[in-house]
Symmetry: C2
Subunit: 203 residues, 2 copies
DNA sequence: GAACATTATTGTACGACGTACATTTTGTGC
DNA sequence: GCACAAAATGTACGTCGTACAATAATGTTC
């Protein structure tokens, strides 16, 4: 029994991942065809040809199927984005660039974001690292870098500041989803501006 | 038919308010006795001696019963709080004092805040003024005052800034509800500090 | 590789929760 | 008072998620 799960996934774990992907893909197809709300868990199970209980075991709620897909998308896209912003001179500009990319992505997934965001807020009680949103980790990383740089104030933990930024991000996103005023990218700029005025060291 | 509903409430509206209070009070008693989660809508209706459909008509979800009570509490407490903080010299200190008061209140209602906050986030799509949280309006008011004062930057609308502050408030509150680290008041101080460094004009 | 232990999947049946609707009661305007 | 509108009642129903016992698949030990 190896304690390094990554080195010995075993067939069971492989099949699990396979089933997860299969379920999420089946669900996604249905979402795109019928709209998120119109799709029922029973229908997903039926189309995926598994028992209802099996689907519920892997994905206790419909939104978890979205998470599975989005996390995979994020994991696939992140390296390229990081490479893209790595060349920028300051963490401030990196944050702006990152949010600009995020705005594009959000516009493409607009239809799913409202239920998804609510779901993520509802499961905030899960503190497990792998459950933390990708955003949280990206923000933590960049802010820590900015602190090491001397760009940002050092008197707060980067995790705390990242948490603040994440909720400011949510504020903007929800406003955009509901009111649909200016472009999301512009709203992110505004928010970052306000946040950074406090985050940046006074010179 | 008067178009001023406040001038001609009518018996119907009076009874409605009466029923609302009765339902919310009955529910509150049950919540305190059995815990929020353990109380069912059916039980509330039964104890209040109304049909299930009637309860659902006034309060589509259980959390709405909390909102009714909390809004009333807020409305009752606000005047005193405003009077208390009015004497403070700057809006910055007023914000600190207000959040300190809010921290006390939150600690007393801790058990209900998690479901309540989630509920409020879920109904964010309701843009009606009377639905906007009391906090939102308090923050707007204070920030507008701070802008008029010359304390705060003027390049953003107070409503937008209040929205940011509200989500930072939520960030702190949720962290406290889930992780239970330092005292809520301290966490509010920290958050306000970060927010104000950006909100305050550089001198 | 054979027997045992563990975990996952199936299918069904059940219970809780919210909704719909026809009926009755209550309030409003003439 | 009467006629109309609106709200409350109670029941019946449909949906959704869960529980459970039986079965299948995987992992482990010798």
């Amino acid at each position: 029994m190896s304690h390094l799960e990554s080195s010995a996934p075993g067939r069971r774990e492989r099949k699990r991942q396979q089933t997860l992907d299969h379920l999420a893909n089946t669900a996604w197809t249905l979402f795109e065809a019928l709209g998120f709300d119109a799709v029922t868990m029973e229908r997903i199970a039926e189309d995926a040809d598994v028992a209802k209980g099996t689907l519920y075991k892997h994905f206790p709620v419909k939104e978890a199927l979205l998470r599975h897909r989005f996390h995979r998308e994020l994991a696939d896209a992140l390296p390229a984005v990081f490479q893209e912003i790595a060349g920028l001179p300051t963490v401030e500009t990196q944050l702006h660039a990152f949010l600009a990319r995020n705005a594009e992505w959000s516009e493409q997934h607009r239809a799913y974001l409202l239920p998804y965001v609510r779901f993520r807020l509802s499961e905030a009680h899960v503190k497990a690292v792998e459950q933390r949103s990708g955003l949280d980790q990206v923000f933590s990383h960049l802010i820590r870098q900015g602190q090491a740089n001397g760009e940002f104030r050092m008197d707060y933990a980067p995790e705390l500041l990242a948490n603040y930024l994440q909720f400011l991000y949510l504020a903007v996103l929800l406003r955009w989803l509901l009111d649909e005023g200016d472009s999301l990218a512009v709203e992110f700029e505004r928010m970052l501006n306000v946040f950074l005025q406090g985050l940046k060291k006074p010179e």
